[in-house]
Symmetry: none
Subunit: 416 residues, 2 copies
């Protein structure tokens, strides 16, 4: 069943609000195995709503409108839909009574516009609104299903879940998705390593999506049962993991910090961090995890050279000789932090977040990291691109990843 | 100029992400007085992209695509648009060179797919991407303007603002919006204080929107000239400020940290922070501001009691007697931090971010803050609601606001 979701509202076209209803409806429909092929937004203009509806009738089997059902003059979805289909509007006695009761309870007078809300197209079925005065509409006409929902998400969401989903034909099938999260490799390099899967795999489909500091691979499986869909996902995930290995760090909602948390807890290890260019972001990400106080001991945001020396004991001569952004200083920060914080692992980051402060020798985006461990100190050098926030994000993510690889005993870093 | 915005991406139709690009582009176009009549979303399917584009060519004068310009195989917007218009793709030598330099800098190998990104339709103009490898496209064909933008908002937004807006024809009439950012007061309390404006004001309109730690008031003015629209906005802003006063902390893109930065620079003051429950977020927000190294000296994330004592000299007896989450400990953290960091202002935060760790006496969301200054130490107690991340966000925001009010000499905090 090809589906089009049409949102009616000039405020969407003016960019005053985001079309979150389309996202919500799409997600629920995908779970039911129903294909959404188009989202459309059109303003509160009867002619354009009519044209948009005609295009949808031509290409879709299920058309879901949101918005334009309110009591005001620019609410015209119901009237326009009835008009295009050649239907008259008829009074729904039960809803009119309901409205009269609501208004009596609120001690407000019902206007003609409010009475308009008790009208529904002939042959349609009224969907009860428990959170507002605009009822929804379910309409079957000429082999098509047309659903009209109120715009406010608080009204639309329960009406869709409690009533529309029950009325929609049961599909023999489900669509399930799984996201594999990848870091430490570019989108195109990743794609080369799974080129055969991308070319040949059709169920699940595999779609890459680049994020700031991550690449996501979304696997989407269609099957008759949930179990079959899960099996398809498992098999493809395994094929991906075989090719990509440890660059896949998590699945679905799990974050890099969550992953690291479970590794630290499993190994019963504690951690401390010293940050220069990331400015507290690494500590923030680590402490977003509930229960992080069991392994996260402390963080130091040593922004000034003086604080690097006073708080971490980095020799000022070392800073003078190599500069604050250097492997030597990162190494010294991590080494001293591990001793002073009594932690098992100490991570240090120093770099140039920009946009100012870069030089030819040490450009914006240059970042040194070190992890001090019982086995010695590991160092790594990175060149990130992006604006200040992106560089902070990419650097913090790379530090978390370095810790993860260390804990997984994947030794891709050098002792320094 | 009738405009259609087309987003290409199956992930939008599956409800995996929200079409925020359409909102952003619409807002910027409205400011320029350009009418957006349709938003459309279509999946990564060449036939449906071609059909959608043909419909748009029929009804719109300006067509803006977002997404589908990446290096992977399902990125097909450029190819499909060229195909529908009967144009061939040609290599842009300058961009190919740029790409080769980016990859050399990243020490990564350029693949065939990456080279694909240097192709543009014949007769088109390339739009530079400063934040990624996919260039944008500006194309004039048969009286229509077609613009192709990359999907990631961080790439799309600057490309649109810096390049596309310059190329678009100037219009008569403008719609201008201004956002006033408010904190430290609830949405309904705020609404009560501006009830008369909300009821009577039609140009500009005023729309409230509640965020996690802020409330936004959006003023939208229509006028013939930009100057007139600005006048309307200024007048209404003044009326709002008269009623709301210092709870309005910033306008439009300015963040609380930006505001604080300008106050600190103006007063030539330095700052240090000690965080327990916010876990580095306060330092992260402060260091997001470019140039923050001139006033931000250091941050301490003192998560464990031991670190509070060892790093900040908070007496362990004080922690034992009052608990780590107490006014006394916040006060001691701030006082000691100011001395040790040689800063003019030292902020301390201690609280229960949850979801675990709350008690009847000290529930989740209880947070104490202190600011040590030359005039003494100011303390404040807060009860925040929300999940862990929201509580961290609200607490960090409240700390920034406390600093702002102190610097503005609005004395709403008690010496402790």
């Amino acid at each position: 069943m090809k589906t089009e979701i049409i949102a009616v509202g000039t405020e969407l076209l003016l960019g005053q609000i985001t079309n979150t209803n389309a996202r919500y409806l799409s997600e629920k429909l995908a779970e039911r195995g129903i294909d959404v092929y188009w989202h459309t937004v059109v303003g509160d203009n009867p002619q354009r709503v009519a044209e948009t509806f005609s295009i949808a009738l031509n290409r879709a089997d299920l058309i879901i409108f949101s918005g334009g059902l309110g009591p005001t003059m620019d609410d015209l979805t119901k009237e326009t839909v009835a008009d295009v289909l050649g239907l008259t509007l008829e009074k729904d006695e039960a809803w009119e009574k309901e409205l009269e009761e609501i208004f009596a309870r609120l001690e407000r007078k019902m206007t003609d516009n409010n009475y308009k809300q008790a009208l529904i197209p002939s042959g349609a079925r009224l969907l009860i609104n428990n959170h507002g005065t605009a009822p929804g509409i379910w309409l079957e006409h000429g082999g098509k299903i047309v659903v009209l929902l109120p715009g406010p998400p608080r009204e639309l969401m329960p009406m869709f879940t409690d009533q529309v989903l029950q009325l929609l034909p049961k599909k023999n099938g489900v669509i399930l998705s799984r996201v594999l999260k990848i870091t430490g490799i570019g989108e195109s390099a990743m794609e080369e390593r799974i080129a055969d899967l991308l070319a040949n795999q059709t169920n699940p489909t595999i779609a890459p999506l680049a994020k700031h500091a991550e690449v996501h691979l979304r696997l989407t499986a269609k099957a008759v049962t949930r179990g079959e869909a899960l099996n398809l996902l498992d098999t493809t995930e395994l094929s991906v993991l075989k090719r990509l290995g440890e660059v896949v760090f998590a699945r679905d909602e799990e974050t890099m910090a969550d992953k690291l948390a479970s590794l630290l807890v499993k190994r019963n290890m504690t951690i401390a961090v010293a940050e220069s260019c990331t400015g507290g972001l690494l500590a923030h990400l680590l402490t977003n995890v509930s229960g992080s106080s069991t392994y996260f001991l402390q963080g130091q945001v040593v922004y000034s050279n003086r604080s690097k020396t006073e708080l971490l004991g980095v020799p000022s001569e070392l800073i003078e000789k190599h500069g604050a952004v250097s492997e030597e200083v990162a190494r010294s920060m991590a080494e001293n932090l591990r001793i002073r914080s009594h932690s098992d692992l100490a991570v240090a980051i120093t770099g140039v977040a920009g946009p100012t402060g870069g030089t030819a020798e040490k450009p914006v985006g240059l970042v040194f990291m070190a992890i001090a461990t019982a086995e010695g100190i590991f160092c790594s050098k990175f060149n990130f691109i992006g604006n200040r926030e992106t560089i902070k994000e990419r650097a913090a993510m790379a530090a978390l990843n370095m810790l993860r690889l260390y804990l997984l005993k994947v030794n891709s870093f050098k002792l320094c």
